[in-house]
Structures are given as structure tokens and as C-alpha cells.
Point group: D2
Chain length 486, copies 4
Amino acid sequence: MSAAFSKVYVDRVLDPGYRNWKRLYLKDSLAVHRAHLVMLEERSILPPGTAAALKVAMDRLETEFTPPERIPEGNEDLYFVYEHELERLAGSEEAAWLHTARSRNDMDNTVFRLALKRELLALLRSFADCAAVFLERARKGEGELTVLFTHGQPANPSTMAHYLSAFLLEFLESAAAIGRALDSVDLCTLGACAITGTGFAIDRERTSRLLGFAAPLENSYRAISSSHWLVLPAQALALAMGDITRLAADLLHKASCEVGLVDFPDDLVQASSIMPQKRNPVVIEHLRIQANLVAGTCSSIIDLFRNVPWQDVNELADAPVSDFIAAIGDARSCIDLLSEAVAKLRSDPVRAREICLRFGVTTTELADTLVRECGIGFRAAHRACSAFARSGLDKAVLRSAYREAAGRELKLGDAEIDSALQPERFVAVRGSAGGPAPAGMVGVWAAAEAGLGALTGTIAAHEERDRSAAAELAAAWALFGSRRSR
Amino acid sequence: MSAAFSKVYVDRVLDPGYRNWKRLYLKDSLAVHRAHLVMLEERSILPPGTAAALKVAMDRLETEFTPPERIPEGNEDLYFVYEHELERLAGSEEAAWLHTARSRNDMDNTVFRLALKRELLALLRSFADCAAVFLERARKGEGELTVLFTHGQPANPSTMAHYLSAFLLEFLESAAAIGRALDSVDLCTLGACAITGTGFAIDRERTSRLLGFAAPLENSYRAISSSHWLVLPAQALALAMGDITRLAADLLHKASCEVGLVDFPDDLVQASSIMPQKRNPVVIEHLRIQANLVAGTCSSIIDLFRNVPWQDVNELADAPVSDFIAAIGDARSCIDLLSEAVAKLRSDPVRAREICLRFGVTTTELADTLVRECGIGFRAAHRACSAFARSGLDKAVLRSAYREAAGRELKLGDAEIDSALQPERFVAVRGSAGGPAPAGMVGVWAAAEAGLGALTGTIAAHEERDRSAAAELAAAWALFGSRRSR
Amino acid sequence: MSAAFSKVYVDRVLDPGYRNWKRLYLKDSLAVHRAHLVMLEERSILPPGTAAALKVAMDRLETEFTPPERIPEGNEDLYFVYEHELERLAGSEEAAWLHTARSRNDMDNTVFRLALKRELLALLRSFADCAAVFLERARKGEGELTVLFTHGQPANPSTMAHYLSAFLLEFLESAAAIGRALDSVDLCTLGACAITGTGFAIDRERTSRLLGFAAPLENSYRAISSSHWLVLPAQALALAMGDITRLAADLLHKASCEVGLVDFPDDLVQASSIMPQKRNPVVIEHLRIQANLVAGTCSSIIDLFRNVPWQDVNELADAPVSDFIAAIGDARSCIDLLSEAVAKLRSDPVRAREICLRFGVTTTELADTLVRECGIGFRAAHRACSAFARSGLDKAVLRSAYREAAGRELKLGDAEIDSALQPERFVAVRGSAGGPAPAGMVGVWAAAEAGLGALTGTIAAHEERDRSAAAELAAAWALFGSRRSR
Amino acid sequence: MSAAFSKVYVDRVLDPGYRNWKRLYLKDSLAVHRAHLVMLEERSILPPGTAAALKVAMDRLETEFTPPERIPEGNEDLYFVYEHELERLAGSEEAAWLHTARSRNDMDNTVFRLALKRELLALLRSFADCAAVFLERARKGEGELTVLFTHGQPANPSTMAHYLSAFLLEFLESAAAIGRALDSVDLCTLGACAITGTGFAIDRERTSRLLGFAAPLENSYRAISSSHWLVLPAQALALAMGDITRLAADLLHKASCEVGLVDFPDDLVQASSIMPQKRNPVVIEHLRIQANLVAGTCSSIIDLFRNVPWQDVNELADAPVSDFIAAIGDARSCIDLLSEAVAKLRSDPVRAREICLRFGVTTTELADTLVRECGIGFRAAHRACSAFARSGLDKAVLRSAYREAAGRELKLGDAEIDSALQPERFVAVRGSAGGPAPAGMVGVWAAAEAGLGALTGTIAAHEERDRSAAAELAAAWALFGSRRSR
């Protein structure tokens, strides 16, 4: 351990790792030390007096220990630096007992899982906040006419509520996937030691509970070798980010000045330094970029494990975990931007109406009306309306095309035709389940409320477990000194 | 529709799509037509007599319709070819009614989901079969000594049961992820029409049930625009494939002739055409390649949606779905290979023992023994054993190192030292939860059984739902004619 | 070799590989056999008479050998099936001499390189054809007014020539990258044997030349282990495909009915089965999908090599090579679609003019005019024009804003202002290098011509080398019999 | 410009971008300002006196301007902050002239290219340093016996020179790819303005030369829209990193204690905190991880452009460029580690010999010897040697197998057989081009020297151009004031 490492190795590997540990994992590692010592003591694995002595030293280090900026010569990692401090205070013989029945393998893995759990929980909170913004904005969008597109062309009139709630459900499904991925992180690997556990009579349930995990991970080799706790969250996050890139592409189209269906206030718009007329909704472009860069890091983490021996490997250590934690931070930035953009999203129903009439968008409903009220088949009605749309909505063309298709005169008067073409009517009749009319939206709102409720429930349950575990660990730690004196 | 398309467009887009449909989706599309017609009839949306006439024609087409090899001139897709046949039999006016209250958007999406459900269910069966093979081989591996590695170096003795059950749990977690992804496919989008549903009084619950879906998807815009039904299964499959590449890397190392811990029979081994001594366990290499190529296609499908407008787009159509279905077939090939390799995997406990003693693998346990029985701290024990390992297990070195570390003589005799170094003893004392000793494996076996049980339960539930839906559709279809005659 | 292989192994590995070989590599492998035998004979490595006997048998097999559909029992691959046929004709002792001083490693690798070279050359021809279409369409677009966008908003008037030539240069740069990647394929690995060459006095230059390669690959271990011949072409192809996805996104925006700057004839447009008004330019969507799927396969091939030992591995064999060859075919389909779309691309200068004036696109030039002719600074001019643009081009606003910014009256009259706002004038003054005015385009056309010339030159050079190598091999083979009789 | 931006937008987009600019691009942007002003002045585009006034102010700012830590309220980016400072010193009217005939589009793009050029040049230097280390270590490895593997099994004896030079050639090919990618960065886009150039009579050749670029990029729209300057370097870097992951996998196998062919000194090896016997060559694992993470970022950058409209977009701005620059830094760390590992790589010829004889590795040469000296065919010789290898090199088995295959007695004596099996002989006879014997290595060394020479030549040429451009710009800037006073 005291061997001098190659300078290149220290500069390129050990010191960067040490800095990651200081920045991201020190606090969790102290909690792991405490929980482990409590368990060792409760199971009487240490010689009498040792645990108490360690406790005193560890309590002092909790306030006194400030790791140096750069890794001290001859140390591999922050843990050894900490252990040396412990040796200084408690004596070398005593200090070493803390590492009984564990390895850096299980200790580090447990620390990474604690840190990742906290980050994923924060991410879920960002999702929940954004989902609430979406729901509120969508609710305001009931009756707010818009046009929805397929293949880049205006397809049907609908409402902003219908559109935004659709994405909200997509978003909540991604959040649920992240929640489930969190379950695979939420397993305690302490006690797996190097890979096969230990001959000491440890209690893995106890340390798991003291650290706030759902349960110990069942197989000690898998505990150290599995990548699922990184890959599953990375996949779930990539799912959410991918959807955001798609929403961004759709919003950019809707926000282009030729389409003009949606708009953002000036505080989200940038100008050009050379083109006086430009108003660039770059907030959406940045949304796209941030989402794609996060998705890229997720892919990077996932692909990292390709063909890597199914063993304990350093891919499961601080470098990738820290990159992933940074990506989660970027994802939260992206979701904050999304919340801001959605909260401030303005739509233009007048323009929506104009597009509907200009491009014959509502002729679909006219065709359906012909089917329902004139008793001709769907295809014939479609053909007549197609000619009508191509003519620029010339009713004479409609009538003659109908005559040709149906073999009889169209019985609808001009006013009835006009009424069938109203975008508002198009929306109003679409009350089938999942459609934009209020009746169609009943199940949609219920699903959105349920999804958001499940998400906030997941968050609350994790917070509660974290709180009670912290309290239990603090209590055990406090009790611990007193019992020791018996 | 009758417009002649550009020859390049037909050759490069329409005809390949048509061939995909013929090969993969025709059968499901006929089921969708039936379920849709039953529902239209039950909801009295069609004129009296129309449904009965369509039924007669559709029943004839069920046996008579053989789509031509190449897409007929002027058709966009197989659906229009089918509709033309229907027009021929039932008359153009009647035939068109079948497309009432639906669009190709929802129809196609429903067909793709049906096809994908079937493939994913077959995939889950391959997983279940392979998991059963794993479990059986792992059970045989209780007490079968092996060496497990960390960072490519021999780390701990363990058992094949411990090792294989660890991977089995990983594998079952992936299978569970595929099962959950299947839930996102298992939602019926029929009735979403283009994107906003319809003004006809359709019953989406009914068609969903007749086709064997769990439920209709709630929002009609999302039904047509979401990519989750492709992305979620692709991610889950990629997870499983990624793990297989890691297992392959580990097995290749264990199977290398210098390590020699595992071996395969001759019927899985290839020779060299130039090197007489070679016995290449290429089955594992092919496992790696097949898994990586499937993972590559999964990534391809996932990345396809980057920045694609959140609308109905052709990324959600036959080209990517067919590629994904091919990848599922390749994944099943890969899993069959894995089953074969695991079933025939032989391990060499004698070589395991040799490696343990040759490379001082069991000195970890000697260190633990010193801690437990001699009352010295973990670090001092580790230091003494480290010197012992470096010396090539020279007991004099151990004794002197112990003396230096502990300040007293080592009280263990040579026989006790030898006993502490036995690999079998190393394994036997590791009965902490998740360790290789029988006590440690109790929870592992329970978890494996539970996981396999859940997987077979998922499969059985889907099969049962598919069976009962098919029966309900057949019954409704049969009834349908008779009622119509009323 | 005669060992019976596991049925699963045959079905999942050997037979699929055998079918790949039959379909894609048989012809090239026969050429390799010929070239190798010629060289062995020229170097007097074989016993007298052996080569002549082999030649007779090989000539017979050239016409007679039809490999069975499924791999015959007990064979590993197509090569052994061929060798057995050779043994049947020439006797087992003689037949075996053909494999002197080579291994399947170098033989297969050489065959894969030959096949890949041919496919890449065909791909370059597709690029050259498409580039010629682009150039022709771009030439027609001189003076054809359009609007170009930044961040999705109309930015500057320009010409179709400027726009299409820009992409053409991008496209030619990708083609050049593919050409360079082809250089890394175009190295002969025959003679590398397993990995270290041979003790026989072979002539690697000779076989390389007879097979039409540029040169032998220098190091025999690298010859068998390198992935560059797959990864470099995959990267270059992915570059081209990525650009096409970007062009598709831009064209889809320009082709949306609200923007309406470009359009396609009916034979490239699809209708909706439910929305009578729809005209979907799905040709561009299919371009996007095909390009992305090819890019996905390229990534799959590239990622396949992650962490794969730098040795001879089966990742360098038929499964990935065949997938890549299929992707090249798909890329050619995609490029054919692109040619078709570009050849038929119509633009609408009237709509371009309308957008320019409606959205104040030309105020950039007004600002420049103020700078050039009124002597105010750029920022002040920009500010005045920005107010003018926001006002909807109200000249009173411009004058007052100018007054405020410049501290004096605007000396331009209304006609001069109007003239400065003309899109045609905007284009006409932009003659700086690379701009859309004829003077600006001089260097652009030169670069495009040069790029296309280089591409056709590369193709011609390869074709010429292939032709002369085939002739040389045929001549050597013919001569060979006669010399043998000496 | 003075509009207050949304706080979220400032925190999540503008401020992070501003910080990127301060950290990475400020210096280059000042050079761009200088070159632009020199050109404007030389072309007499500015009013008399303006340029001189700007020069004075810019000279002061060169030393005085320290941008505030956080982006000042109401600014979009660092450029506007700088311009405001310039306005403060030179007056608002004068300051604005600096932005004549340019846009942030071309200015930023030029700055990013300058920064990226510098980073790529530094990267090439790291490649050259590492290649030199490789070459030196490879030279030392002439005659240093080792074993090379195929499919994870020992295949042929060879030398460390053969092995390391093979990778060196791979590495130099990647470096050459990076060099070519640098050519696509090395094009000046200044003067492209927004996207169509300008009506001012600028001189793009001049600014290009003053900034050290090879040439101006030809088409102004492409100048702003192309992603090649990011994608091509990312692909080339990914190629190099991918190879390193493969080398790492191979070295880890060779360094495993069971194989024992290579080893690293203690200063590159880490111990276990729980397993006294462990010596983990984790330097190679970290090499693998660092290379994969860099490759992951490269993929992230490449995939970022999927389906992004082929326009000026923010994907071409500071966020991705800065990520890519960070990845280049990580790549250099990785290459430094590689240099360190290769320089200190020790191999064990004794172990190599042992493996050869233990696993019958040299029977390939015995088979060749039988072919060459006993006149039997390759296949028969191979069959006899295969039986010999399986017997554990029992000569009686060889003789009887030979007799069966050849129909006569083996004429080689035991000593001759033993000699044919010597690994040293195996290597010595392999003098065919590219083989490990000195004759085979001649072309290998020549290729390595040529590749390294080309690489150092590329670096020197860039350095020389940068130096002379800096001198030319400084001279023009100095002259500039004096001429202005005319």
C-alpha cells in the first residue's frame, strides 16, 4: 500500500478517482462505516472495547477530517486516507478492525448505490414537478383549439389539453420506469465482501435497514458483478430524454413562424446579431441538445459493459458512476427547461382555425358526416371529400363528386356542410375514449392523475424510508456507546 | 390512390413494405378486421345487412386471398390490395364500410402490437427454458469447487452453484424487464383512428378484449405517436444481451487452456485448419457476437426516434418493427446457444483447487482466521498473509510476519494453517446470506425459484388471455351472422 | 473435423454461416484458391504435378460444384465441403496441398475483403450517380429564389443552387471518406496464415496483385486481428447517412404545407386513408428511416468490437460482414431514393418571396444598406431594422427608429427602402466567396466539379485494377497448365 | 438584447454557455476580432478612423477585460459582454462597426474550429509520443519470445516486436485518420455571416490566412450547417479508442496469473483490501474504461446530429464542442496511461516457451516440416500432428499417426522432431513478409517508421502554419495603426 505509484498512474487514475470520492461519496461512506460498526458490535464480532474506541475516533473524524486536495503519496484511494486518520486517532491495531468482514468491493458498491439512490430520487422529484406543470397547463388547454400533425402535415384539429396530456402520459411512463430502475439500485450489497461473503457471523439485513435499503441483494457474487444498478437507470433516463427530443422537434415545427401554432414569451426567445427579424425559440433547441447529450451519456454507460468480463470490474466504480451522476444533473436541467417552456407555452387558436380551413383539415369529419348522415360508404365519402379538399373547398366540386360516388344528390345544405367543417365541431364529436372531446378525455385525466399520484407516492415512500433509516442509525449509534460501557 | 407511383419509390419503399406485411402481419390484420367489424356491428354503426355481407366476403378471402408476390401497380400497401379484393367480392360500396371509424394509423399500429406481443411471448418462453437449464445446472454445481475472479485475477474459491445462480438471477431480472416492457406493447390502439379518435360511437374496450389486449391505450394522440412499445422492449432485450456478452467474456477466460476451469464437449468445439493443437470454444464467441448484434439492432431501433417529431411517423411502421422482430429471432438463437452451452458446461474442481493453492487464493480466509482466532486486527492479519502469499506460502515467512504485526508468536500450528488454507473450508464457512455455503445459498435458491415462477406465470397469463380472446372473437364472429339474420 | 456437432450449434451457428458463404462469398473464395495455387506453383512449393492435378479438379468444380442447401453433417463450413469435393476428384493426398501455407484465417479474411471491396465500389457508384443528379438539379437552381432557415426560422433569401450545392459538397466529402475507407479494405491478408505467416517461401505481393489488391497488409498478426477494414467503412457510411437524416428533416420542414417552399410530384406522395386533405411527402420520411437504420447497423458493427480481445475473433467473420453488406445494400436503396427525390424536387420562388416579405427576412440587407450607404454603425442599423421588422415593415417606424439610433434623418426614400428589401437584390449583392450570387458560386461550382471528378476517378481506378487483375489471374491460370507440362 | 431572460433559461442555458466561452474560447475570439478588423480595414469597409479607434480599445481590453464570473443580466453571451465593454471604451457607434459583415454564426463557428484545431493538434502530439514509446518497446522486443492467441487459445509463438508493432500500425492508422479529420476542421468559415455571406466586399482568403486556416470553406450555407468538423474527428477518435479497448482485453488475458505472459511493475499494480494474494493490473482496466468513456462521448456527439434539420443549429455550438474537447482531454489521459503501460510492459519468454510446449503450440510448424521435408500433403500432416498434440506430445503416437496418414514410416528422428517443435525455430523460419522473423519484419518496421514520420510531419506542418499565421496577424495588427494614421 505504501508503494509509490507511477506518477502517470497517480495523475491519470488515482487522483481523479480520489477527487470524485471527495466530491460525491465521502458522506455516504461515513454512513456505511457507522452502520457496519454498529452491526459488527451488535453481532459481537469485535473484541470488547474496540467498537467504542472506534466510535470515539470516528465521531472526531466526522468533524475533523478534511481530506487533502490531492491524494497523498502512497495511497490508493480516499478510504485508505480515512483509515490512516483513524489509525492516528485510535491506533493502528484498533483502526483495522473497522474493515473486518468487508472489502472495498462491497463497501464501495454500497456507497455508490446510496449516492445514486439520492440522485435518482432528486430526478424523480424533477419529473414530478414537471408533470405537475404539464398537468396544469394541459388542464388550461381544454377547449383551446390547436392542430395536430401526422408526417409533418396538418391532420386533425384537437385541443392543447389532448396534446399535452398525451405527452404527460408518455413522461409519466418514463418516470415510472425510472422508479422501477431505482428498485434495482435499492439493494444493499454490504456483506458480499470481495465476492463470496464472509465467515464472520454478520447480519446483512441489519446493515441494509440501517442504510435505508429495501433489502440485501441475494447473491454475493452478483452483488459485486452486476451492472443492472447502472444500466437500468441509464435506460430509463434515456427513454425519457428520447421522448423530449421528439417533443422538441414537434414544438419547433409548431413554433416556426410559418406554422405559428405555439409561441413563447420574450424571456425564452433569442434574437440574431445580424438578422433583425429573427425570434429564435432556442429554448426548445437547447432542450433537444441537453436531452440528446444526456441520452448520449446513458448510451455511453450502457455500452461500457459490452464484453466486459462478468466479474468485479472498475466499470462498476467511481468514474462511470460519477459521469452518470453528472448526466442526471444535466437531465434535471433539461427537465427544468421543459417545465419552464411548458408553463409559458402559448398557443394560437385563431391560427389553428385558419390552418384547419385553409388546408381542408376538417374534411375528415365532413367525410364521416356523409357516412353517418347520408348513408354512403366510407371510401366513397372519402373520395368526394378528397376532391373537395383539392378544389380549395369548392362546394360545387363536392356536390358533383358526391353525385358521382353515391349516384345521387348530396342532401346536405351549404350551412350543414359549413357546420361539418367547423374545427370546434370536429373536436366536439370526438368523445370516443381517448379523443379530445370532454367525454374522450375522462379516462385520460384519470390516467394522468393516477400516474402522477403513483410518482409522488414512490417519492414519498423513499423519503420516509430514508428518514426512518437515518433515525434508526443515529439511535443505534447513540445507544452503542452506552451499551459498550456495560 | 390509383396514381402510378415512381418506380424507384415502389422498388425501394412500397414493395419492400408490402413484402414485410405479407410475411409478418397479414394474419394479424385479418383478426383486426374481424374484431373491428364485430364491434361496428354490435354498436349498430353499419347499415343493416352490410356487416353480414362483409362477413361472407371476408370469410371467403380468409381462404382464397393470396396476395401477389410483388405489390400490384397503383397500390400503396397490402391493406389496399385486400380492400380491392373485398370490393370485388362484396361490391365497392359495401367494402368501404369496413374502414368506418378507423384509419390505417390505428389499424397498423394494432397489428404491429399484436405481432410484437407474439414475438415477445416466444422470447419469454426461450428465457424460461434457458433459466430452467441454468437452474438445473446450478443445482448440480452445489459443492462443485471453482475459482471466481475479480479484475481478471483469481479472487475466491466458490462453487459453480454460486456462480451460475448469480447469473441466473441477472438473467431473470432481464426477463422480468422484458415482461414489463410487454405490458407497454399490450395496449390496444384501435379506435384512435388518425390521432383524435372518431365521432362514431365505437367501443374501444370491446375491440381491445376481442384482440386479447390488456386494455385500450388511453389517449388517442399518444396511441399513434408513442414509441414506447418499441423502445421499452428494445431496451429490455439489450439489457439481457449485454449481460450475455459479459458472461461470454468471463467463460472464455475460464475456458482458456491456461486457466482450464471450464470446458465444453467436442460437439461444441471447433478445430483449426492450420494449428493441430487448437480446441476453440467458439460457441462462446458466437454467443458474444450474436448477443452484440442483437444489442446493436436494439440500439438502432432506440436511436431511430432521436429528434423525430412527436407525431405519427413511419418510424412506427413496418420497416423498424420487422427489423426488431428479426432481432428477437436472433436473440432466441443466442439464448438457445446459451442453454446448450450451460447444459453442457463442465467444470474442473481439481484445477480449481490447484489454482487456489498455487496463487494463494485462500489466504483471505487465513487472514480472517487470524482475526477470529488470534485476536489481531484485520489490517495486521492481512499484512502478514500478504507476505505469506508473496513468499509462495512459506510458513516461516507467515510466522515472522505475524510476529512483527502482532508483537507475539502465531499460536496456530502448521496443520491449522493448512486447514485454514483449504478451498473447501473457505467455501464451507461462507454461510452469510448470499455466500456459497449451503446456508448462504438458501435465499439465493428461493430468489431464483421465485423469479422463474414469476416468469412462467407471466407467460401462462398471456397465453390464457390470448386463448380466451381468440375464443371470444370466434364466438362473436359466429354469432354475428346468425344475429344479423334477425 | 468429422466429429458430429451439437444440433443446436449446427442450426444456430454453422448452418447460418454456411448459407452466408454460399450466398455471398463462394465466388471470391474460388478466386482466392486460384491465386494461391498459382503462387504456390510459381514458387515451386508443391511437388511436381500436384498443382496441375489440382487445377484440373478445380476447373471441373468451377462448373460442377453446387453446395447442398444445408451444411452437410460433420462439416464446419463451406471450405471443408469444397475441399471434400476436391478430394473426391483429385484424391485426398493431392487435395490437401491446396491449403499449404495458408489458414482459414487469412483465406477467409481475404475473401471478406474482396466481397466488401466490390460492395463499397458499388456504393461509390451510387454516390457518384446521386451526386451527378444533385449537381444537375443545383445547376438548374441558379436564380431560383428560396428561403434558407436557421434554428427553424426563415433567415435569408438564397437560391436552390446555393442550398443544393452546399449539401452536394457535404455528400461528396462523405463519398471521399468512403473512398479512403476502401483503401483500408484494399489490402491483401493472404499469406498471414494463422497469424504469423509461414515458413514456406510464399510471395505475398504476387497473390495480392492477382486478386486486385493495392498491396499486402504489412504485419501478419495485424492482418488477422484488425477491425479497421470493417470499422472505417462503417464510420464513413454512417457519416453520409447522418447527413441524409439532417437533409430529410430540413426538407420535411420546407415541404410542410404551411411553409410550402418545396414540393414533390404525385408519384412520390402518399395520401391518407382517413384524411382526404392529406398529401404526405413520405418519400422524405422513408429517406430518414432508411438512413437511420443503416446508420444503426454501422454503429452495431463498430460497437461489436468494444473490449473484444485484439486477436483473431469471429467478429471478423461472416456474420457481421454479411450484416454490413446488407446495410450497404440498404444504403444504396436510400441513395436511390435521394436521387429520385432531388431530381423531382420542385421549389416555389413565389412562396419564397412571400415569406421574405411577410416575415421581414430581408431586413438584414436593409441594415447592411444603412451601414454601407448612410454611414451608421452596424449595431444601430440593426436596432432600427429590428424595430421596422417588428412593426410589420412600417416605414414610419423605420424612420423614427433610425432617427433615434443615428441622430439624424434617414436619407433613403421609400423606393430605395423597398429596393433594399427585395429578396432578389439580397441574393444579387451576396457575391462574396461562397455566397449565392454568381460571383460567390464560382468557387462552389469548382469544388463540386472537383469533388465529383475525384469520385469518378477513384471508381475508375478501382475498376481498372480489378479488370487487369482478373486478366492477369486468368492468364496465369491458363499458362499454368501449359508450364506444368514442362 | 436588453430583455431580461427567464431565470431558468439563464441558469440552465445562458450562464453555462457563458462559462464555457470564458474557459475555452475567449482567447480565440479575440484573435478572430483582430483578424476581422484587419481585413475590414484593408478592404476599406469601415469609415476612416473607425478601425484605429477600435484597435486602441481592443488593445486595452486585451489586458483589461476580465469577464464577470456569472453572465451579467440581459446578455445572451460572452460576445455581447465584450461588445458592451468595447462600447464603453470606443463609444457605442464605433464599437458596432466591428460586427460589420459578420454574424455570431460565422464568428462562433470560426472560434470553435480554432479551439478544436488546437486540441486535436495536442491529441496528435500525444499519439506521436505514444507511438514513439511503442516503437522503442517493440524494437526491444525483437527476439523476445511470446505466444499469440486466436479465439482466446494459444496459437503461435511469436515475438513481442511482432505483436507490439502490429498494434503500433493500427494506432498510427488511427492517428492518420485523426489527421485527416483535422483537415475538415481546418477550414475558415468567417465571412459566411448568417448563412449567405454578405454584400460587403470582404476578403475571406485573408482572414482565413491570418487565423492559420488551410483555406476558407467554399459554400457559406454549408459553412454554418455542416457537422463534419465535429463528426469526423469524433469518428477518428472513436476508432483509436476502440482499438485500445481491444488491446486492453488482450493484455488483461496475457497478464492474468494463469497465463503469465506479461506483467507490470509494482507502481502500476493495485492490491486488494481483503485478498492478500491479489496483484491487480488495474492500469489496463482503467485504460479500457477511459477509452470506452471517450468512445461513448464520441458516439454521443455523432448521434446528436441524427435528424437535426440541416441548418444552423445549436448542436454546432459550445455545449457539444466543449464536451468533445473534454473527451479529447480524457483521450490524452488514456493515451498517457497507454504509453506508461507499454513502456513498462515486461514479458516472460520462459513462460512463453512453457506454454508452447505444454499446449502443443508449435505442432503447426511440425506439420509444416512434415509437408516440406517428408513430402506428405498438408491435411495428412495436420491430422498426424493433431493426434500428437492430443497425446501430450507422445512421439510414438506421432509416428503411428504418420504411418497411418502417409502409408510409410516417419523419417524424422526424435531430435529432428524436437527441433521442429522449438518455439525459437518456429519464429525463425517465419520470414515471409509480415512474419516475426527478421526478414518478415523488414517491411513492418519500414511501415511503422513511415507512419510515425508522417504523423510527426503533419504535426510540424500545423505548428509551422500556426506560428506564421500568428506572426502575420501580429504584423498586420501592428502595421495597421501606422497605416491608419495616413
